[in-house]
């Protein structure tokens, strides 16, 4: 059994009158890849946002690496996000004014790494994701699939301990979706990063080690379904 790195217990979150989470459970171990599946509006993204410390649940606890995320201040949580977490979303995540290289280097720069060192590391990750030739281009000048690989490079550049990916291949065709997943999974395995992967596509979920299904804000651990 893998030691738990990040977990959520009895998570509740309501937006106005809309219950988004109603007692969701979640655990992921170091180096483990867990898929979160479920119908649209069931609370997948809300769960991911809570686990990543972006959204504060109304009640319930989130533990990360032995600490209590729900007890941290906003400043502490954003510091943690910058140092330990990487993010890949469906679209619109790259800063349009920056070049691709600057985009990938950005998380390091936010962690006060010097420009030269940050860009060297960024270049390494871009090579690894086979997008090094796009270094000088801006996000508006590249394709969706290329943009997703840039986004994966940016998520991994700080060597995060957890990568949060919300529909990372949602806007891509099968071949490009697969390339992005393969590179993401390989890189995560190499760095022993945990991956929390929200997807409604089963072929994408099949890259995970385990899946949970969220329905009406409640989670179901499919490993225990049978």
């Amino acid at each position: 059994m893998i030691d738990t790195l990040l977990s959520g217990h009895e998570l509740h979150k309501t937006y106005g009158a809309t219950p988004a989470l109603a007692g969701a459970e979640f655990t992921v171990g170091a180096g483990e890849i867990v898929a979160i599946m479920g119908p649209s509006g069931s609370g997948k993204s809300t769960l991911l946002h809570c686990l990543a410390g972006i959204v504060r649940p109304d009640s319930g606890t989130i533990r990360y690496d032995g600490g209590d995320l729900t007890a941290m201040s906003d400043t502490q949580r954003s510091a943690l996000r910058r140092s330990d977490f990487g993010f890949v979303f469906q679209f619109g995540q790259l800063v349009p004014e920056l070049t691709c290289l600057e985009n990938v280097a950005l998380p390091l720069r936010l962690n006060a790494v010097k420009r030269k060192e940050a860009e060297t590391k960024a270049r390494e990750w871009m090579e690894r994701l086979e997008v090094a030739d796009l270094a000088g281009k801006r996000p508006g000048e590249i394709s969706g699939g290329q943009g997703q690989r840039i986004a994966v490079a940016r998520a991994l550049v700080i060597r995060p301990r957890v990568v949060f990916a919300d529909e990372p291949t949602g806007a891509l065709d099968s071949l490009n979706g697969e390339r992005v997943m393969k590179l993401l999974i390989e890189a995560a395995r190499d760095t022993r990063a945990a991956v929390v992967l929200v997807t409604h596509e089963s072929r994408i979920a099949a890259y995970s080690d385990r899946e949970i299904v969220v329905r009406d804000g409640r989670s179901r651990d499919m490993a225990r379904a049978t």
Binding site: R203, A206, Y207, M222
Partner: protein
């Protein structure tokens, strides 16, 4: 009358695994070979989950021979058992060409076992959700195995696994949709 009969026999052959014959014929197009060689290249390229039995090769080749699609190119009798070398005839090449040019019949799987299980569960007051979820987990388990196999494999592994993956995905989407429609279905079945 006679030609209609042969037409149906021919169709039946297609349905009942005539594709092994076509595949062997296709392999022969690159040059004459012994039955043993044919079996080996078949297994290498297409036999991942179902390698051919010698008997199957032998019976298929004698059928192709009888139909004039292959001919004996040489006989070896030195030492062991007699070994026939086959080569493809012009009629054989035409046959392969026709087979390749003809689309396969799409199988819509209406009335699948899964549908039957769900309806039966609802009729007998059992938890259909549980059945759907158990199946879903099983499908994903298989998709995971195939994905792993694909990641470690070469291009032909990937193509074969992808074909299976897309089919499983289609099933899984049906499972999800049915889960979402379960209360509607329950009402309809119980009234």
């Amino acid at each position: 009358m006679r030609s209609r009969y042969t037409h149906w026999v021919y169709l039946l052959c297609i349905v009942l695994g005539m594709s092994i014959g076509h595949t062997l014929l296709g392999l022969l197009e690159s040059g004459p070979r012994h039955g043993y060689d044919l079996k080996r290249s078949f297994d290498e390229r297409f036999g991942r989950d179902r390698s051919l039995a010698y008997g199957q090769v032998y019976s298929t080749m004698s059928r192709l021979l009888k139909n004039g699609l292959v001919e004996i190119d040489g006989l070896e009798t030195s030492g062991g058992p007699e070994r026939k070398r086959y080569s493809i005839t012009d009629a054989g090449v035409t046959d392969v060409e026709q087979w390749l040019g003809q689309p396969e019949k799409p199988e819509p799987y209406l009335q699948s076992t899964l549908y039957t299980k769900v309806v039966l569960a609802l009729l007998t007051g059992r938890d259909a959700n549980e059945i759907l979820d158990t199946q879903r987990a099983e499908h994903l388990r298989m998709m995971r195995d195939l994905t792993r196999r694909k990641l470690d494999g070469d291009l032909s592994d990937r193509l074969i696994c992808d074909h299976a993956l897309f089919h499983l995905e289609a099933d899984l989407r049906w499972l999800e949709l049915t889960t979402a429609r379960l209360s509607e279905l329950t009402q309809e079945i119980r009234t």
